[in-house]
Symmetry: D4
């Protein structure tokens, strides 16, 4: 809203064409400009069936049950991440319609049908089987955000033919998430093979000088393949959010 | 596919049971895979007028002149990054048609018209004036890769109204590059305001505990705004490559 | 001043050449200084109802009970920090007049009325709900040190309107403590909005490249908002002490 | 401004008591609520004779001359920090009324009289003579922000009597800035001697395991004296800003 | 080779100008390259009785039992590393023919006789008794890879005569693995005494500034004995793999 | 022993002045030059009643019992460090003559009287009560190595008068061990007050940016008091060994 | 040599069967057992034409000329590493028979013919052209140590077909040195393709989070290809020494 | 003791109830303590001919000339450390009686004869020739502090016989300073060979993962030889101060 428009509204009020309440409603959108952007975001969430997401790491079962219950009543899809097996069991008992994934440590409760609305397929690639929990968290999140998701597991660079033999899957994807621990080299190889966006996720898999994922993180930040971007260590959820931003049909 | 199987296929061709096209189709899957994908990439580069890019940091003027000359002869657009003022002067003398940007430290030599072919506008946001070189490198690169680019400078979070008053520019963008040094907080704010992809670029601006960009890098990797991705410190070029991957009209 | 000189002064006193006051003036400069300052500090503590504080982290229940008991007998208010739930239960049984706060992990035993004597309100702002334990420790400590305290929770920068809509609370404060984990960006935003002192407390909330609070700590040390000061990771207690120093009515 | 007040204004417009322009002027203050806070800050700056501050580190002489000239025309006091000797000479030639301090590396151009308006004296303590540049930057800045400043030099902890013999100066201060490199122990000693706010500034003085100020920074963050706060390495300017926030007469 | 050329070759085959073998030879160079090399590697594994190796760290007993069972059925030798005592007990019950080593934390199931086929002896030297688990993992792995192995324990540099009195063992070895924690100095001494390859393995033994093996790792990377190479912290398995690569009879 | 002396001995053998056994005894000292030095050390250990020391951290009760039993049979004093409460209980049951110290986590079994043979008193100073375990380990070790030991507890620099009031104890010491965590500033103060050797021991006491003792370690390495030396984090034992080396009556 | 043998020798002296000189010669070998091993090494050096190597980094032209002159007089081949262009010019003037390589920064002066005596070819692979100096240093060193050397340049993983198309060169090598900066991923790919020893050399090529080669170093230490070993950052010389140890014809 | 009590004591003296000695005894405990100790230290300095020491690193020639001149006038010996060649030339011109050592970068001006007063010889051992500057600084400092000094150069652990052949020098020393860069292993070997105090000095010699001396520092802190103490990187001066403290004839 620009000053011209504002002046027009105020003159309508002055002339009696509209009432004080009308102006206040419009100004509410104006004065909370930032809120407005966020609120539009909120509307989009409801409209597109995007789930509300809960970071379960530090929350008790009681807290999780309360939050999930309230959201489900609001007819929203719910995604809780970083749910360990114990909490998963409790949540499944409380919400029989929910699904717990012990690999990706996610709990999902769907109250709305999710329709894949993205521009194409999100491909989640996983270097080793130990990286699977992070990859699965990314895949589950991306699906709940309305994307078609395909998964490739155990295609690390020490056996380079494994990823090379997957050119079809690579060619189908509109955005690729590459999950790898240890030296984190896979995103460089994938980034050199494809022209679509590549999001690299370092994992804490490894020991010694892996430093809990730092080696993989640094490797990915220094990728010699141009245009690879990186998220935090073990942040499968964040990678999926980035992929969903990229894969949206209407970008602006 | 093992040698036995390959031999069987070739014998079928020899015997006329199958045709050359059948074999080629099968061999396409078998061989070239990597090469093929890379070559397609190469074709795309030529077809779309993408420039060849030279990392000028460690190259002498002689090396730069040789490489740029050869590329220009090949009717390619050329982008050289990390060109200091001294080298820039030399290159401008050697290639009068070229343009040197002392802020972004880039040298560009266009032999082909560049047409913006992306899905929308790439917005490059810059927290402080000291971050401008990195932002400019990103903007120049993105333009040469065929994107419309818009720039916002000096909208850091310590004066939060500066970015908030730019909702129009934020709303126009299909992908946003946010460049910031020091504490690197701006991508979190921007990421919370928009739904499009946000690429964060930490810069080495700062001193003391900024540790040459590490503080900004860590801040961005830990952004509380979901789906922000990060590239290496001062890597404006890489951010533009990522933006170009995202902004391509046809994604897969 | 050496022993010879001292002896000379004392002999002058003995002989009546100088008086007691002359000697005391000279000795005041010479002696006590450190002890005196500390003792005055001690007196101030008792006079203002400041609590004695116990760092409970490495202490056993027996040790805590002994120390708290002795202090309470001395008619002092007692604050014990870093008290886990198990120790809290034991202490509540031993000192029924005490209060345990499981969120802030503090145990408080008041034997004296606390009167807010500060210049204004200490505002404790908390970026996310996971940062609440540290914020609560700060709030409890500040109250026991004789300050009016106000709290704001979950106003992180990814939804920037949340803090912007709190301009009233920001305007009421005479000193602000900002508690944040992950990228630790909130103090920069707050520091840009207000003119009063801002104390930033990084928390260990986060994972991966948060490095147990290092990302937030570095972010805060590099804040682009001038005049933000920082305390140790998770050190809500220290932030409150700093706020109490600032908020004292008579400063020198 | 709350909704009630907004409604009142709009009704005055409706009733013709005020005009559209009046409302637009007021709404400008409303809709840019955040800006408002910053603008008030801006007004305060002009009113109190606070200088505009320029970080000179990465700026050329030409850029500095342009900015300083424009500010001086606006009748503002100007402070430029991190000005090396070469730039200082140039600026002194361009602005003969200015003063360059080669120790603190500051250039000051006063167009307005500065009146000390703080609650008390800002005491700047400096552990060793090598820390003097940072301490001087802090002192110069604090003075220009309207504070009485006192300085103590070379009172490091290896000769503990040096700081102990300064109890008078310590007792006079309303806020103390302690500047120290190497192990950074002085703020702990000072923090234990006084009850007023103590701001610690680590410096990059030292070698080897000093790691450019990291040892001093960590020492200060872990100070056993409660309520010591810390700013970035070598950030004398920031410490002075914090001291000025604390020392303001009217805190909220 | 491009598709045109490939088509030409195939048409020559079709027309009988060249034979199947000619095509296969050309395609061998063209295709498979990576796959082929990897496959040959796989053949070598089976042929030489090399074990398949399972990294047991993050695998459950069920997963381990499944994988080991399948491998054993395939008449392969099996090595599982990082097997704690609990898992070891379970595996011994499930596979009575297997052997669990609680020191080296390995589980071995031999279905094929292992014949030492290396060029000489692999000597595994261990600085202190606390480094023994890593040394034992290296020794067990090297033996299963078909090497004669000799072990020396507790010959750290603080009692330098201990390693000096072992010149016979040093002289017998064709490759030496040196395992050490704390300051990791032993490889430098050994590297100076012998002319054969020396592989250094830092261990996480130590405390404080040992930083979980970082001190030993850095010491080894900076060895003043030329030609010492290093593997990851605690990576006895990797050192043995490197030794086996070196000790192979036919090198190319 | 130089070649001349060797030749003389051999000529005495040749001439029959001495026998083969005489030469062998002398050569034993020569040929095992390094061993010899170590063995003399061993003899000194027995002669001076020095204990054998066992690092108990990674050893099981069974291992500890076996080693202690064998040593005690050899009429040696035994010191085991890093013995937790559980192991301590077991050892006390097995060796009723032994003493377990739960604070310093040491187990001592004396079979020989220890006589203080050092040049003077070893003073062990401890900044805070949380540093007591490390200080106690140092004190116990120093006593068993034949030194008179005096202890000072809780004299940290935040209350500087506490250490200043201890000038008598400081003046009595021939070597001082200073144990401190957090910012590790106490050794600088002590080093400035005394002329005798000062050994600084950083402890892992603290949280957040204490980084497990790194802050204290760096502080001590950068001490502005000349001639302070440092040992590893929490290494009370090592500090006592250094003190015992210094405090020996006959130095060379 | 054991005591029995020693006794036998002494008895022969006693009986006059051998003379004092004979015994002294033998004892020299005995008492300097360690020296002996080193001396054999020294003999090997002369015999095999191995060059003496000078680390030129911190040496002046005068020092270099003196050392090289003395060595050349001794008829030894000389290799000086880390010789910058300026020093190279001086050395070429002083020793016209010498060769300076500006890429690898080596100066070589051959006085003896070098014969390749290794088991096979040392292949030096270089990820990018910026890594060439380190690779060239390795190649030059390996050649001077008597190895056939082959070089591959610019085969980084972002264009994976580049290394895959080099299977012939990979197949010919008996040991492979892989030099890479940035993310250091190439050794993992190469290690997965070959069965011979692979020595990884991280380079300081890169910027930002490359941290002067740390990213590459960590990547290589965490290589998922088993049996890859690593040397220090930019240590092409050390890698060549390791390769020479491995490639020696007679291993023990 | 509070002022009231002090006044009472003084009045008793005035009235003759107690004598001057009684008051002095009480005041000794009360006052001076710190000052006194420091002053005694100062007296000792003058009495023993110890030099005043100037850290020349950040001082200009003018500052150095002024300070040295003033000290020399006071008939004190002067030691200036970290004096580069340019400053050394200037100082030699200004003070012809002074001596500049370009290796150790020290400038010494003796006005008083120095007499070796220590208990024995200080042995300074240097691992490599590149470590010589730090070793020389230590040797020069120790001599000026009144110690006999012996030096051993280039006895690093990669040729272990070099240090082993120096048992005579090792046996003569009453305290040993060991200077080493790279992996810093020499102090462990020396510490295992001798019973006297060993002070380890890490140097910044090395490259890559030497991290400017961090590798050597960590190696020394983790030395497996008990009782080795460590000073800051390149701190030859500090090691000599520690050695002088240890080597004093009268320790308390």
């Amino acid at each position: 809203m620009n000053p011209t428009e504002l002046e027009r509204i105020l003159r309508e009020l002055q002339s009696g064409d509209i009432g004080v309440n009308d102006v206040m409603e419009r100004l509410r959108l104006l004065s909370f400009e930032d809120v407005g952007i966020a609120r539009i975001d909120h509307h989009r969430t409801l409209r597109q069936g995007f789930p509300e997401v809960i970071w379960g790491e530090h929350k008790s079962c009681e807290q999780l049950e309360m939050i999930i219950g309230r959201m489900a009543n609001g007819q929203q899809n719910v995604l809780a991440t970083r749910i360990d097996a114990g909490k998963g069991e409790v949540l499944c008992a409380s919400f029989p319609a929910g699904e717990y994934d012990p690999v990706g440590r996610t709990f999902v409760l769907k109250t709305q049908l999710i329709k894949a609305t993205g521009r194409g397929t999100v491909l989640v690639i996983c270097a080793g089987t130990s990286d699977l929990p992070v990859a699965r968290e990314a895949a589950t999140t991306a699906r709940l955000f309305g994307n078609d998701v395909e998964e490739l597991v155990d295609v690390g660079v020490a056996g380079i033919h494994r990823i090379l033999s997957q050119s079809d899957a690579l060619g189908r994807a509109s955005v690729i998430i590459v999950v790898a621990g240890m030296e984190g080299a896979l995103p460089s190889v994938v980034g050199g093979l494809v022209a679509v966006p590549v999001i690299a996720v370092p994992t804490s898999v490894g020991y010694g000088a892996a430093f809990g994922g730092v080696a993989a993180l640094l490797g990915m930040l220094n990728s010699c393949a141009s245009g690879v971007t990186v998220v935090n260590i073990d942040n499968g959820f964040g990678a999926a959010c980035a992929a969903a931003r990229i894969n949206r049909e209407h970008c602006a």
